[in-house]
């Protein structure tokens, strides 16, 4: 089993290599639009997964929940993807001609907001703030979990020295953990809204929906919780770790996942019904292209069934939520549905008048695998640095009753 564990990072890096080669091949083969579209879609999806998963931990600490301790440990591991996400965001600059179709369009006065320099500045700062708050929250929450007298890895040793330099006070650290948790949640809503407006909605610069920001961050929580469930189920099934979840923990996590499935569908419907009633051509064209006209209408139905109808009908059942392998499959399906949903939102805008670039190719799948490899490597790397997070035994916070 130890061998299997040690193979995860090389396998993940192998996926990264495959994705990189596929991306490079697409560029070299004269399909830069398809390559950059895949890059943008996967950057948005995997960043949302990492950002949304950390929300679980921050949210649970904010409401002083105690049932979710073991899941929080796993949720925090997704923060390891934050630096990767930021670098990937900067990488978008090189594909700006393909991912910002408004660059050479007549924006009718929107140039003040929609220009590359300002967009990269504000979104870059916003992501730095979000990730900074996430790491600050992690800094204070890890103090309760890492054994300061016995740091077992290099990163733990460095953190222990940092904490020792400032003479940690449990009450102060607990308060700061709470404050940074709340700040992260607030920043999450604001920053994800901004990213949704700038990188997704602005692809059709004359279309707008004021609910699009809320839709974006609820979607991030939905996919984040889905990925967390997959990680929890896989770790639970792995005999190499002492990590075990009870049936009720799986059921409660499944309920939360179900709740955000409903919240996501609700925000989709809220936008749809308002646009339907308004019946203004500048708003309806966006919806008609994506839901009624080929080829995107098929993708729209697939997304609707995979991300809402199937989870809704299946998760009504209580017992199914406690079956780890089934929840892994269901959450994986939802993540794939959300991947398609990003294509649905961005595809028609990025395709322009070139109908050939609407088609999916093997390159899209391989680039997806590359990004998935990055996330897997980051999360596994974190859990290697903090192996105590997978212990069945309670952490310092529980043992000392500091919460």
């Amino acid at each position: 089993m130890q061998n299997a564990k040690s193979r995860i990072i090389p396998a993940a890096l192998g996926l990264v290599l495959i994705g990189t080669v596929a991306f490079g091949w697409s560029l070299a083969a004269g399909h830069p639009a398809a390559a950059w579209r895949a890059y943008l879609v996967n950057f948005l999806l995997f960043s949302a997964i990492a950002q949304g998963a950390l929300v679980f931990s921050a949210m649970m600490h904010t409401v002083h929940a105690k049932w979710s301790r073991r899941l929080e440990n796993l949720a925090e591991s997704f923060a390891a993807f934050f630096p990767v996400s930021f670098v990937l965001f900067l990488g978008l600059f090189f594909g700006r001609a393909y991912v910002f179709p408004w660059m050479h369009a007549d924006l009718h006065g929107k140039e003040v907001w929609l220009n590359v320099q300002f967009l990269f500045s504000r979104d870059g700062i916003a992501l730095l703030v979000l990730y900074g708050l996430g790491f600050a929250y992690l800094y204070y929450t890890l103090w309760f979990k890492v054994d300061a007298y016995n740091p077992v890895t290099g990163l733990q040793l460095r953190l222990t020295r940092l904490w020792a330099r400032r003479r940690p006070d449990p009450e102060k650290y607990k308060h700061r953990r709470y404050v940074f948790g709340v700040l992260y949640l607030m920043a999450f809503a604001v920053v994800l809204s901004l990213i949704g407006f700038d990188l997704v909605m602005a692809a059709e610069p004359h279309w707008y929906s004021t609910l699009f920001g809320a839709y974006t961050f609820i979607k991030a929580i939905y996919v984040g919780f889905g990925a967390l469930l997959i990680l929890a189920a896989c770790t639970h099934a792995s005999r190499g770790t002492g990590f075990l979840l009870s049936q009720s923990e799986f059921i409660d996590m499944g309920k939360l996942f179900f709740a955000f499935c409903l919240a996501w569908a609700d925000l989709f419907y809220c936008q749809l019904v308002v646009i339907w009633y308004g019946n203004i051509s500048e708003e309806t064209a966006y919806v008609i292209t994506r839901t009624m006209l080929a080829p995107w209408n098929r993708v729209a139905w697939a997304v609707f069934i995979v991300c809402f109808v199937a989870p809704f009908l299946i998760l009504l059942n209580r017992r199914i939520k406690a079956v780890p392998w089934f929840m892994t499959c269901l959450c994986g399906l939802v993540l794939i549905g959300m991947w398609l949903e990003h294509y649905l939102l961005l595809g028609p805008a990025l395709a322009g008048h070139n109908s050939a670039s609407t088609a999916f190719s093997a390159g899209d799948v391989l680039i997806f695998l590359g990004f998935a490899g990055l996330l897997i490597a980051a999360v596994t790397g974190y859990l290697r640095q903090f192996p105590g997070m997978l212990d069945a035994a309670p952490g310092k916070a529980e043992a000392e009753g500091t919460d």
Binding site: Y269, L272, V273, W276, Y277, N279, L316
Partner: protein, 175 residues
């Protein structure tokens, strides 16, 4: 057939203790006659081996029925008048979803209450002679049936499990 003519009530501070006591009692010859508590507890239900309530099925059936009834009502009334409002089709299925949703909630609630009444066989014109007021505050009461001569042994057993033995109202002989 054993003649259990006496009932003893032990009070526990939390549901976990009460559930543990129920589990231990089920290993003995003294049956658990009843359990009273201020809140519902899955742990106690599990220890008693009570099957999941069927009320949920009533709720689900009510919800599904309500959803289609709401849609049908919206379609039926629109078709009866046939008025075109703001250029929209007479049968506008997208906003009709709101009516369907509201009816889902309404009929789920109504069916839930109906299921509760039917499955609990309400109204129940009977008293709870062994009920203690502490069970409406902060205690869980486990009522055990036994023979009169076994009462001291049962009390000792329950005390060892962490139960409080309120005297003297805890021991009641069946009339």
């Amino acid at each position: 057939m054993t003649n259990h003519d006496t009932h003893i009530t032990a009070l526990f501070a939390d549901d976990a203790q009460a559930a543990a006591a129920v589990g231990a009692l089920r290993q003995t010859q003294w049956p658990v006659a009843d359990v009273h508590g201020p809140i519902p507890s899955q742990a106690i239900s599990g220890a008693l081996g009570i099957k999941k309530s069927g009320v949920g099925w009533f709720t689900l059936a009510g919800g599904v029925f309500g959803f289609f009834l709401g849609y049908f009502l919206a379609v039926f009334t629109s078709a009866r008048w046939g008025l075109i409002v703001s250029g929209k089709p007479v049968l506008s299925y997208i906003p009709f979803f709101i009516v369907g949703f509201e009816f889902t909630i309404l009929f789920s609630v109504l069916a839930n209450v109906l299921g509760l009444i039917l499955l609990m066989r309400l109204p129940a014109h009977r008293d709870l002679p062994r009920y203690r007021p502490e069970c409406s505050a902060d205690r869980f009461g486990v009522v055990v049936s036994c023979r009169q001569g076994e009462a001291p042994e049962v009390r000792r057993f329950l005390t060892e499990l962490g139960g409080e033995m309120p005297e003297p109202a805890d021991t009641q002989r069946d009339l």
